[in-house]
């Protein structure tokens, strides 16, 4: 897909026509060198630094930092958030994609825009907005206080804010794919007497399952790494509402740099694993390569 347009094999064409623009050795070498150098400084060095600093005091210290109770608690909270948010967003993504790709209705374009809205809103704005719903100054604040239900500065707010920032992830992968696939297969299944659920489960889902997996993995990475929205709504109570990214900031503020980088190593590993799975899915051709992302 990438190289094929460059090499017209026809021997009747003159040699100078075979070399595409920028394909001559000298410009090629210059452009590649510039890209390699910037990439090494800009994208690779941060990764190397995180792991190097995390491990700089030896494996023993690394392990001690990793198993420190507050960090372990942060890891567990982060995992729990992902376990709650990702499945909900998979269901939402499927419902949203099913709605906007299988049916025509007034307001469809508006709904698609609405699905993508969280991408453009700053996580800080999302966090602040949640405060004005569930906080003591917010719409439902007095009501929640009357029943002694705590949403803000507690786990529910972390889950809700995470849902806000990742709502489009699965839907975004599914909508273009399901749009291309059309409705013929579903219509055939329904005409042959399949129920709506059977149609979805046996016809639609198998066609899009890898896109669901891909969207879920991106969603998971973002949930585990979300910082801005969560830091506004979590209250940052040590050992209680600190997710892993918040714990990194706390450690850093305590001048425990190695500890902060150790926690960062865990999230870096999640990020690299996410990319690895993405590359794997692309290579077997289950998801479209590149394309406008996010």
């Amino acid at each position: 897909m990438s190289a094929e347009p460059l090499a017209p094999n026809s021997s009747t064409r003159a040699a100078w026509m075979h070399t595409p623009v920028g394909g001559a050795p000298t410009p090629r070498r210059i452009v590649l060198t510039i890209v390699f150098i910037i990439t090494a400084f800009f994208l690779v060095a941060p990764l190397v630094l995180i792991v190097a600093t995390g491990l700089s005091s030896g494996l023993g210290v690394f392990w001690r930092n990793l198993t420190e109770p507050a960090t372990v608690h942060a890891v567990m909270l982060t995992l729990m958030t992902a376990l709650i948010v990702v499945p909900i967003n998979i269901l939402f993504g499927l419902a949203a994609a099913w709605t906007v790709t299988k049916f025509e209705f007034p307001g469809r374009t508006f709904l698609i825009a609405l699905i993508e809205l969280p991408y453009s809103v700053s996580p800080i704005v999302a966090g602040v907005a949640y405060l004005f719903v569930y906080g003591s100054q917010g719409l439902f604040g007095p009501l929640l206080e009357a029943y002694d239900i705590k949403v803000m500065f507690a786990l529910p707010a972390i889950f809700l804010a995470s849902m806000f920032v990742t709502a489009p992830f699965v839907a975004r992968e599914l909508i273009p794919l399901m749009q291309v696939q059309g409705t013929d297969e579903e219509e055939a299944a329904v005409t042959l007497g399949a129920s709506g659920f059977a149609t979805f489960w046996r016809v639609t889902l198998p066609n899009v399952k890898w896109a669901v997996v891909y969207g879920a993995i991106l969603c998971n990475a973002r949930v585990m790494g979300e910082f801005g929205a969560v830091s506004v709504v979590s209250g940052n109570i040590r050992g209680q509402t600190t997710t892993l990214p918040l714990q990194i900031e706390l450690l850093y503020q305590d001048y425990n740099v190695v500890g902060a980088f150790t926690a960062a190593t865990v999230l870096t590993a999640v990020a690299l694993l996410t990319i690895l799975i993405k590359v794997g899915l692309e290579r077997v051709g289950r998801v479209p390569h590149a394309g406008p992302s996010h």
Binding site: R13, G22, T39, L49, L111, V121, A129, G138, A167
Partner: protein, 275 residues
């Protein structure tokens, strides 16, 4: 009308609207409601205060600087990935996704350590008199890092789809490489390029995690709008937080409109190319 053959419209639409309403629209409406409760003179007072104006200026200029860097580096990256074969190409392609996969707080921490006075890059840069960490330059670098994939991933597929026929036609008419680049290739990828740059700019405006570590957060000098919102909240100054957050939301909406306009222009250009 051949609709409603497939069942489940009500259920799927209901779920989607309910979820979007509860998770996305409700909080945004609550924010706007809170902001609308502020009197106009108070609102003006909050927004025209020197500190707010400085934060807006720093955010806009540094987001612009980050976008300029991403425009150049992103275009080169997309070009290299779409056009050249070289060892390590797959690795480079995977590396482009690092800023999206890596949590912004982790990126911010790493960039700060790299550019601090005694850091790997900070030390040599300091020696030639350039400070990055805790200066506006640091903000621009953090913003550029978190938004570089937008430019690459919007431009890369368009360069890949660009047929070699137009280039060959241009060449057989005697055009030089530079002319082909300027008159054929660049106009074809320009809408996508602009869309990628707008996405990068929009993301930079709202970036928080990566920036607050490296910015140093000095009011009037290296304070971004997102941080000022956060600080007003911590001071329990909810009115000011609501007002500034609303400005951020407004900027996001403006960018959304710009991006949509650019993308529909891009679709028209692609459509014209096909026929």
């Amino acid at each position: 009308m051949r609709r409603r053959v497939i069942p489940g419209f009500g259920l799927a639409l209901g779920t989607t609207v309910l979820y979007l309403g509860a998770i996305v629209l409700l909080p945004l409406c609550a924010l706007l409601l809170k902001a609308s409760g502020i009197g106009l003179s108070e609102l003006w007072g909050i927004l025209s205060s020197p500190r707010t104006l400085a934060a807006i200026r720093v955010t806009l200029t540094m987001a612009f600087a980050a976008t300029i860097f991403n425009a150049i580096y992103g275009l080169l990256l997309a070009w290299v990935l779409a056009r050249y074969e070289f060892p390590g190409k797959r690795l480079l392609d995977a590396l482009v996704d690092v800023p999206f996969a890596l949590p912004t707080a982790v990126a911010g921490l790493a960039l700060t350590a790299l550019f601090a006075k005694n850091g790997w890059f900070g030390k040599p840069l300091e020696a030639i008199g350039i400070s990055v960490a805790y200066t506006p330059l640091g903000i621009a670098i953090a913003m550029a890092f978190t938004s570089i994939p937008f430019v690459v991933r919007t431009v890369q597929p368009v360069i890949e789809d660009l047929g070699s026929e137009v280039e060959e036609a241009g060449r057989s008419l005697g055009a030089s490489d530079f002319q082909i680049l300027r008159k054929i290739i660049f106009p074809s990828i320009f809408p996508a390029f602009l869309a990628g740059c707008s996405l990068s700019f929009a993301r930079s405006l709202g970036e928080f995690g990566a920036v607050i570590f490296i910015a140093g957060n000095q009011p009037m000098r290296t304070e971004i709008v997102a941080l000022l919102t956060y600080i007003r909240l911590e001071e329990y100054n909810y009115q000011a937080a609501a007002a500034i957050a609303t400005v951020m939301l407004l900027m996001a909406f403006i960018m959304l409109i710009v991006i949509n306009a650019v993308q529909s222009w891009q679709l028209r250009v692609i459509g014209r190319g096909d026929t």
